[in-house]
């Protein structure tokens, strides 16, 4: 009888030990997946930011006036032309809310189809801060010469077998509108 009890006790202790180890490994694996996804999000964010910067490089190109059309802390509307005095195009770069989540999109002209995006953002979304030539914030639209754009990308790393977590990456860029300095 004593041997049977010893065997049962050893089995229980061993079982608990093995379960603890397996749980620890699964948790570490989950964190590892999230970290890996975080690296991927950073890489993707960089790609998106590169495209956003190329859009912002267009501000005021080929237009003599009214290059900056509308500035808010969550959207930026500007214009550019294909050539000096050529056909004028309008770009609306904004954070939109779609099904409760924020997305970064860019619309060209009056199109309702995004020319860029949508890219999933966190609740933080996008924040634009505009500066004049002397780095004073929030000037009148006609005096804007640069913008600071902060955006936070988000990715849902949900997997049934391991974890549910949102990972985020906040990145800040600055763009001086060279065309408006000329």
């Amino acid at each position: 009888m004593i041997h049977l009890l010893e065997a049962i006790g050893a089995t229980i202790i061993g079982g608990i030990f093995i379960l603890t180890m397996i749980t620890a490994i699964i948790n570490i694996h989950a964190i590892g997946v999230n970290t890996s996804q975080q690296i991927e999000l950073v890489e993707i964010s960089e790609d998106v930011v590169s495209v956003v910067e190329s859009y912002l490089s267009l501000v005021g190109a080929g237009v003599a006036d009214s290059a900056i059309i509308n500035t808010t802390d969550s959207s930026f509307v500007f214009s550019y032309a294909d050539s000096v005095g050529g056909i004028r195009h309008t770009i609306n770069l904004a954070a939109e809310t779609n099904n409760g989540s924020k997305e970064l999109v860019a619309y060209k002209g009056g199109s309702s189809t995004p020319s860029l995006g949508p890219f999933q953002l966190s609740d933080y979304g996008v924040e634009f801060i505009y500066y004049d030539v002397n780095e004073n914030p929030n000037p009148a639209d006609s005096l804007v010469r640069s913008v600071q754009m902060t955006m936070e990308f988000e990715y849902d790393t949900f997997r049934d077998d391991i974890d549910k977590r949102y990972i985020r990456h906040r990145i800040r860029i600055w763009k001086y509108f060279k065309n408006l300095y000329l």
Partner: protein, 132 residues
């Protein structure tokens, strides 16, 4: 037990390496953006003739600036050097080109410091006098 311990330690090491890569990658990118901001500002000021080319050296040489993003503060140390069009040092009194070197480092409130461009290997850009 040895088997599980080995798996545990190997996985932990791999995880630490990944976290370190993510941490450095994120802040390296932000540091480069900060440096780009400084370079853009100088370019715009030269292009708009807000700052004369000759004033680059007196304005930026040995200047220190900083930008805070989230928990990190990025410090930038500027130095300017008259140079040729390829960026090589020159001693010309009235240079047509000036190279600006920025060494930049990020400091976390917990004291961690990440160097993004060092004094030996700075982030550099050559500026030309556009209005000679």
């Amino acid at each position: 037990m040895i088997l599980f311990s080995t798996i545990y330690l190997t996985t932990y090491n791999s995880l630490y390496d990944q976290a370190d890569m993510a941490y450095k990658g994120m802040n390296l990118l932000n540091g480069q953006k900060v440096t780009d901001k400084f370079f853009q500002k100088i370019e715009a000021d030269l292009l708009g003739q807000i700052m004369p080319f000759d004033a680059i050296q007196s304005t930026y040489n040995n200047q220190v600036d900083s930008v805070t993003i989230g928990d990190f503060t990025y410090f930038a140390d500027f130095s300017t050097t008259p140079c040729t069009m390829t960026g090589a040092d020159t001693t010309t009194a009235d240079p047509e080109f000036i190279r600006i070197d920025i060494s930049i480092w990020a400091v976390h409130p917990n004291g961690d410091t990440l160097w993004i461009g060092t004094q030996e290997h700075p982030l550099s850009k050559v500026f030309v006098d556009l209005y000679i």
